[in-house]
């Protein structure tokens, strides 16, 4: 995918994010994450039923990378089993951290495969994953 297409996809998810807005529903578990430079502030809410991620939503105040990555993450994880979700999260983290990874499982999350070139952006991309991991591990 060329840079322009990736940029357009990231910006589209930033400006029109999917699954934004936290549900007022006790079946969802919420985890807030903030990054160390005190800027991005994202809350992810997920409903996990019978080992499956039935729904994921997010909200917060964050930069283009963090907001868009949250949006794409919700789309990619919705409907997956916990195990499948863990594989996606693990490979996404590996991609951002420049380790070998399986791009076939990442779907649209592959648009972040050049984030590593801007080290200050890595933590932004990883922030929503921090929240969802805690939710998945807790159930």
């Amino acid at each position: 995918m060329d840079v322009k297409l990736k940029r357009d996809a990231i910006l589209d998810n930033y400006q029109n994010p999917a699954n934004r807005g936290l549900p007022d529903d006790k079946d969802y578990r919420q985890v807030n994450s903030r990054n160390e430079s005190c800027v991005d502030n994202i809350t992810v809410a997920a409903k996990i039923v019978d080992g499956k991620v039935e729904d994921v939503k997010f909200d917060g105040d964050a930069c283009a990378i963090c907001t868009s990555a949250s949006s794409v993450m919700t789309k990619e994880l919705k409907g997956k089993t916990k195990e499948e979700a863990e594989v996606i999260i693990d490979n996404f983290e590996r991609m951002i951290n420049e380790l070998p990874y399986d791009e076939d499982v990442l779907g649209e999350l592959n648009i972040y495969n050049e984030v590593y070139k801007q080290p200050s952006r890595k933590k932004c991309a990883l922030l929503p994953m921090n929240s969802i991991k805690q939710i998945i591990e807790s159930k």
Binding site: R7, S37, V39, D61, A64
Partner: protein, 399 residues
């Protein structure tokens, strides 16, 4: 533009506008530190040989320089710390923990840095004294009227920044110091943002305690100063015990501590850092704080005028009389703006600037901050403006 040639980094094309976070270091400060490490490395206050005595001389001469710089009465009133944060923790947990009682009131403001808020909040939970926040005016400067109204017979301490790191407003510390004197209130001042920019006089301003960090005034990181009036500092209970601060101790459990200032400087201090701080003070005295302040005001005026020619800019502190400018560009997230400017080697700060309560006041959680110093230039500001005028390109930096 003042003394730019002393800062090698400024020849690399970097435009450094994050001086409220830390300042660049002139060659003379770096050389002074290198000299200690290459020519006379030894511990302080320990040896009977020449290079150790040379260390004592340099280390203690910095104490004299600090004393003169802030016009303290006695050199023993100057304690070297790791930085402002440690200074404030010592004031709060070493002194106030034994001074304040339930029912007492401490006045702070929501514009303070975390280091002048969290220690108080933490101690208040233990002791049960009350923290009251002096309100801010429309331009986010401190409301003196409100401050006066808040003072009552329970008010024991007022602790405020001289210049805030976010708004950059300059508090009238002389007037507040007088108020404190009239009402028998201790006056604690965070001069971290002002010490390298404006003259601070502890006697003229009736300051009980103050704290600052060397790295925000051309000095090295990891060293700072705690000043306390002698009679107060005498009552400050050390938070650290160990070598260098005791006279004698025995297995019976008896111990005797040294006099000030050594009692409050346990362990081997940041000797190189302290010596570097001395060189930073020499450097600042040489340029003159008044010259620095005047030049910063001229730069800020220029920056504000130019920023107003850029579309979609919201400025939060146009009138504050220091080199700090807080702004946002349209609906762009501050961090996206900062990362975009980095492409032009322009260094600014995005976020909440460690003043997390301020967002309750200015209704914006995140802002961009430009903070100027004497080595910045109008040409650098022009480059910032040019980049901001091209704001449609801000989000192109996502890939």
């Amino acid at each position: 533009m003042l003394n730019r040639e002393d800062f090698e980094i400024l020849n690399t094309g970097i435009i450094y506008f994050d001086n409220a976070a830390t300042t660049q270091k002139p060659r003379s400060v770096v050389n002074k530190i290198v000299d200690y490490y290459t020519k006379y490395t030894a511990n302080a206050h320990r040896g009977d040989y020449d290079i150790s005595l040379k260390v004592d001389e340099e280390y203690e001469s910095t104490r004299d320089k600090v004393k003169n710089f802030i016009n303290a009465e006695d050199r023993s009133e100057i304690i070297f710390t790791k930085g402002s944060t440690e200074s404030f923790n010592m004031i709060v947990f070493g002194f106030m923990a034994h001074y304040l009682q339930k029912g007492d009131e401490v006045i702070l403001s929501k514009g303070e840095h975390a280091s002048n808020l969290l220690p108080w909040i933490s101690l208040a939970k233990q002791i049960g004294f009350t923290i009251r926040y002096a309100s801010l005016e429309e331009d986010n400067s401190l409301s003196m009227e409100n401050l006066k109204e808040m003072i009552n017979s329970n008010t024991k301490v007022i602790s405020l920044a001289h210049i805030t790191n976010s708004i950059g407003d300059v508090r009238p510390i002389k007037e507040i110091g007088e108020l404190c004197k009239e009402n028998n209130i201790l006056f604690v001042v965070d001069v971290t943002q002002s010490i390298g920019h404006l003259r601070v006089d502890v006697i003229e301003n009736n300051i009980s305690f103050l704290g600052f960090s060397a790295h925000k005034m051309l000095g090295p990181t990891g060293v700072g100063v705690l000043y306390g009036k002698k009679e107060l500092l005498e009552k400050l209970v050390p938070l650290e015990y160990g070598g260098g601060m005791n006279i004698a101790f025995s297995s019976s459990g008896e111990y005797e501590l040294k006099e000030l200032p050594f009692r409050l400087e346990a362990g081997t201090r940041n000797i190189a850092g302290v010596i570097g701080l001395g060189a930073a003070i020499d450097y600042l005295e040489n340029i003159g704080l008044q010259n620095i302040h005047e030049y910063e005001l001229e730069l800020k005026k220029y920056l504000v005028e130019k920023m107003k020619t850029v579309p979609n800019i919201k400025i939060y502190n146009e009138t504050s009389p220091s080199g700090v400018l807080l702004f946002n560009v349209g609906n762009y997230f501050s961090q996206d703006v900062a990362i975009y400017l980095n492409k032009f080697k322009i260094c600014i700060r995005a976020g909440n600037h460690c003043a997390k309560m301020l967002q309750e006041v200015i209704c914006s959680t995140n802002t961009c901050r430009v903070s100027l110093y004497f080595y910045n230039t109008k040409e650098e500001i022009d480059k910032l403006i040019e980049a901001l005028k091209d704001q449609d390109k801000i989000l192109e930096t996502v890939v």
